[in-house]
């Protein structure tokens, strides 16, 4: 190849790239005029795929139920198990290239906290249905969530443990997740506040699979109850390894997320008797109708956070319908409609910080299913 051919080729490649890039950019950005574009970041693969899938389905169902299937373009990006780095990249793409009006998700608190600076700067409202860390309360002007802060659930199990006569608690938790760290603090404060004692505190990184060293320490600490917080598969592994070390101590998950198939697939008979908090399933027409229609539409039972997701998307669509697609309009709409709203996940009333208050219950594993304790 001589020099001139090389130059011609190089110029050709640059021109093609610029023209191609511009066309693609224009095409994606341009459709904003006609329809409503809502972006989402969810864990469609990886450890939390079951929850990601359920949240996506719930959102799709809400769009269909609102009769806005033709008008709304719903773009879902995968964060592969709540990876904050992927989440930030996806949100940037959703805002700058897809020009979304609002964002549904993320599902995990750490990821939500890392994408908020971007959405806040752009004035894009975010509706959360799974991110439940109390750090998110008041974390932005455009943040709304249909799930109550974790604190209420951590309080519930910690109080329950004390009432049941446990006095010496050990805490073992994943220190890479904000919601878990906050949940641990809440459970610990409640338990100690009630008169219990915190005798051991052990943490680990998010990717760990061997917890025998931490468990050995807890075993020798004389704890009569162990509070644990991590991804469901990790909680199951911790309890399995504890039982393999002949630890028969009561285990309590202070996070609600463990009620999922893989927890039982890994934990098996080891997780019998494990206690965890849960959101109260409201005994209302809205809630029952959501569950039946979800099952009919997708062929599976609605996952945890699905009802919250359905409500989040429905409120968002109603806000857009009544007020408009600009960030401040959506915010005004959400505050207006999110007032004593009868949703599938219960009554939703956003306070000035975009939070809701909902009660919690305590559940225990009995024959491979979580059942409410009396």
């Amino acid at each position: 190849m001589n020099k001139i051919t090389k130059i011609v080729l190089a110029v050709g490649v640059v021109v093609l790239a610029v023209v191609g890039g511009y066309t693609v950019y224009n095409k994606q950005g341009g459709s904003g005029e006609q329809g409503i574009i809502i972006g989402s970041v969810l864990p469609l693969t990886g450890d939390l795929a079951a929850y990601g899938e359920g949240s996506r389905n719930a959102a799709i169902m809400a769009i269909e139920d609102a009769g806005m299937k033709e008008r709304v373009r719903f773009i879902v990006e995968d964060d592969k198990g709540c990876d904050p780095v992927l989440g930030v990249g996806a949100v940037q793409k959703l805002i700058t290239i897809d020009k979304v009006s609002a964002i549904y998700g993320p599902l995990c608190s750490s990821e939500a906290l890392s994408v908020l600076p971007i959405t806040e700067a752009a004035g894009i409202p975010v509706v959360l249905s799974g991110a439940s860390s109390k750090t998110l309360t008041g974390a932005g002007n455009y943040v709304f969530r249909t799930i109550a802060s974790d604190s209420v659930r951590a309080y519930a199990v910690a109080n329950y443990a004390y009432v049941k006569g446990f006095r010496k608690a050990a805490f073992v938790f994943d220190n890479s997740q904000d919601a878990i760290i906050q949940g641990k603090n809440d459970a610990q404060e409640t338990f100690v506040g009630a008169g219990g004692e915190s005798v051991s505190e052990e943490s680990f990184g998010g990717k760990d699979v061997d917890f025998k060293a931490q468990l050995s320490k807890i075993k020798s600490s004389g704890a009569d109850v162990v509070f644990v917080g991590a991804f469901p598969k990790t909680v199951a592994l911790i309890i399995k390894q504890a039982r393999e070390m002949k630890m028969s101590t009561q285990f309590i998950s202070f996070d609600a997320s463990v009620d999922v198939k893989e927890f039982f697939a890994i934990g098996g008979s080891n997780v019998e008797g494990v206690i965890a908090p849960a959101m109260v399933k409201p005994n209302t027409e809205e809630a029952k109708s959501f569950e039946t229609r979800y099952k009919a539409r997708f062929g599976v039972d609605a996952t945890m956070y699905a009802a919250e997701g359905y409500d989040a998307m429905m409120l968002l669509l109603k806000a857009i319908k009544t007020e408009g697609v600009r960030g401040d309009q959506i915010k005004a709409g959400l505050l207006k409609i999110g007032n004593n709203y009868q949703g599938a996940s219960g009554i939703i009333t956003f306070n000035s910080m975009g939070d809701v208050e909902k009660p919690a219950v305590v559940k225990v594993v009995n024959n491979g299913v979580f059942e409410e304790v009396k």
Binding site: A49, E202, A213
Partner: protein, 289 residues
Amino acid sequence: MGIIPQIIANSIIAGAIYALVALGFNLIYRATNFFNLAHGAVSVVGGYTVFGLYRLLGLPLWIAIICGVLGSGLVGYILEKILFLPLRKRKSSQMVLIVASLGAFTIIQAVIAIIFSSQFQTLFDSSMETKLYQIGGGIITQVQLIILIAALLIMGTLAWIKERTMFGKMVSAISDDAVVARIVGINTNKLIGRVFFIGSAIAGFAGIMIGFDTGLEPTMGMSLLMKGVIAAIVGGVGNIYGGVLGAFLLGFAENFGVWQVSGEWKDAIAFAILIFFLIFRPKGILGKK
């Protein structure tokens, strides 16, 4: 009962797992003198082969395990034939080989994630009771006991092959000087191919055992590889006994470290040991023999 017997048991279990990874890694290093980073992914191949055959297709466990071990061996063999051998023939530098092996690692990991999804999977049946053994105050499960015995058996077998068989002596000859080995009539490429098969098969066995002990994830290869490499460097790269010694040392350091300090320091402790050895004793405890 004190806490120390259990921590010793935990250390031995961790050490045995690292030893299984380090054994295959060291064997391949011995013959080729390069860090085969694909080794971590090859190990995961073994675990997922058993997962596919045993858990998904319902084949008998022993058939699945044999297929998993042979499958990993085969993947290692193929990598050598289509990737490393052509590169060596072209006299590529160590750096090129390492980068190529990292590429192979990434591809294998991605393919596993595409076929089996990146969800966490287990090989054990969670409804079955786990058999527990009490040894000197520490408790150990049946799978962990098998891992420990297997690691020692494989080490013994490899040592025997190295000292007592023609194959072992030829591998030592290549390790000392590949050119001279070729001059005296050793078919080095054929031999290296076999070494890759054996080393990768051992890695596959490690992956299967980990699948039974804790579980499988497509991305678990990197941390396995790292622990295996640290064990190899600490004990003496290319040295069969060295890898095992380094593995147990690492297992003890990690578990006693977590006991005394805190859980999140585990990896930091492992890599601090690596750095210490790289600076003060780069040949490892035993050196290359």
